[in-house]
Assembly symmetry: C2
Homo-oligomer: 147 residues x 2
DNA sequence: GTGATATATTTGTATGTACAAACAATAAAT
DNA sequence: ATTTATTGTTTGTACATACAAATATATCAC
C-alpha cells in the first residue's frame, strides 16, 4: 500500500487537489456505506430520502431534493423506487408532489438507523472528535461557498 | 436556499454525518469539474488517469488503479476509452498491462492542466490556505484509517 | 514438473446520478 | 382573458463506477 503511494507521491499534484481528494474519499466511503446499508435493501441515498420523509411525515418532493442536492430527475427515480417497494406514498397536487411515509416505511426505520449508526461509528473512529468537527465545518464551508 | 436548509436543519442528523456530507460535497464538485473538463473531451477521472500515464511515460495499469483507488474493471473501461481516443497505448506482458502515452496524449496535457488549474482556483477560493491544508490533512487521515 | 493458489485483466451486468427535452401547472404581463 | 414566463416533475438517454464471474498468467509446494 505504502509502496504504491510512494510511486506517485510528491511527483504529482493529485493529493493536493480538493476535488480529487474529495472524490476519492467519497468513493471509498460509498463502498463501506453500500455494504452496511445492504440489510435495508436500499442504497444509502435512498435510505436518506426515506429517513427525511419519515422525519417530516409529509414533505414536498422538491424540498427533499434541494436539501440533499439531488437533481429533480434523480428524485423522481428515487421516489419511484421507494413507492414500488411500498415505503412511500406520493400525492400529486397540481405540479407539486408530496410524499408521505407508509407503515412499511416506518417499519424500516430501525434498520436504517442501525446501518447508519454502524457506519457513523466506523467513520467517526478515523478522527478524534475535534478533528471531525473541523472536517465538517470546512466541508460545509466549501459547500456554502460553491452555492 | 437558506430557507430550504432551515426546513430540515437541527432536526435531522444528516449534516453531522461524515458520509453524507462528503458525498454531497463530492457530487457538487463533480458537476463543476465535469463542466470545466469538457474542453478536454474527457471526464475528470479519465483525465487524471491520462495525467498519470503522461507523468511516468510508462506505467503498470494496476499501479494507476491502486493509486486512484479505482477498481480493476473500471480501469479496464477507462483505458479502453483512452486507447480508442488515441491518447494511450497498451502493452500486454503476460498478465500485466503497461500503459504508454501517445503523441496525441501528450498534446492534450495543456488542456488538462488548464481545466484543472481553473477548477483548483475555484475550489481553493472557498477556503483560505490554512483551512485547505487542514481539510486535506483530515481527508487523507480518514482515507488512511479506512485502509 | 504437476497441481494448487494467487494475481492481473476482462466481460457481463447492474446502479446511482445527471442533463436535456418534454410536459404540466402556476403566476405575471399586457 | 390570452399570451408569456416560471416552476415542478417526468422521460429518454448517457456515463462513471462497481461486483461477480470468467480468463489468463505467474508462483509456490511438493
Amino acid at each position: 500500500m505504502k509502496d504504491i503511494n510512494e510511486k506517485f507521491q510528491n511527483e504529482c499534484q493529485l493529493n493536493t487537489c480538493l476535488f480529487f481528494t474529495s472524490s476519492k474519499l467519497s468513493r471509498v466511503m460509498k463502498k463501506e456505506a453500500d455494504d452496511l446499508f445492504r440489510i435495508t435493501g436500499l442504497s444509502p441515498s435512498h435510505a436518506f430520502v426515506l429517513y427525511l420523509v419519515n422525519l417530516r411525515g409529509r414533505v414536498h418532493q422538491k424540498d427533499v431534493g434541494d436539501y440533499l442536492l439531488l437533481s429533480p430527475s434523480t428524485m423522481t427515480r428515487f421516489i419511484d423506487k421507494l413507492v414500488i417497494k411500498g415505503f412511500v406514498r406520493k400525492e400529486t397536487e397540481g405540479k407539486n408532489v408530496y410524499l408521505t411515509i407508509t407503515e412499511l416505511g416506518k417499519e424500516l426505520q430501525p434498520k436504517i438507523m442501525e446501518s447508519w449508526n454502524t457506519l457513523n461509528a466506523l467513520l467517526n473512529g478515523t478522527l478524534d472528535e475535534s478533528e471531525k468537527l473541523t472536517y465538517l465545518r470546512l466541508t460545509h464551508k466549501i459547500l456554502e461557498k460553491m452555492n
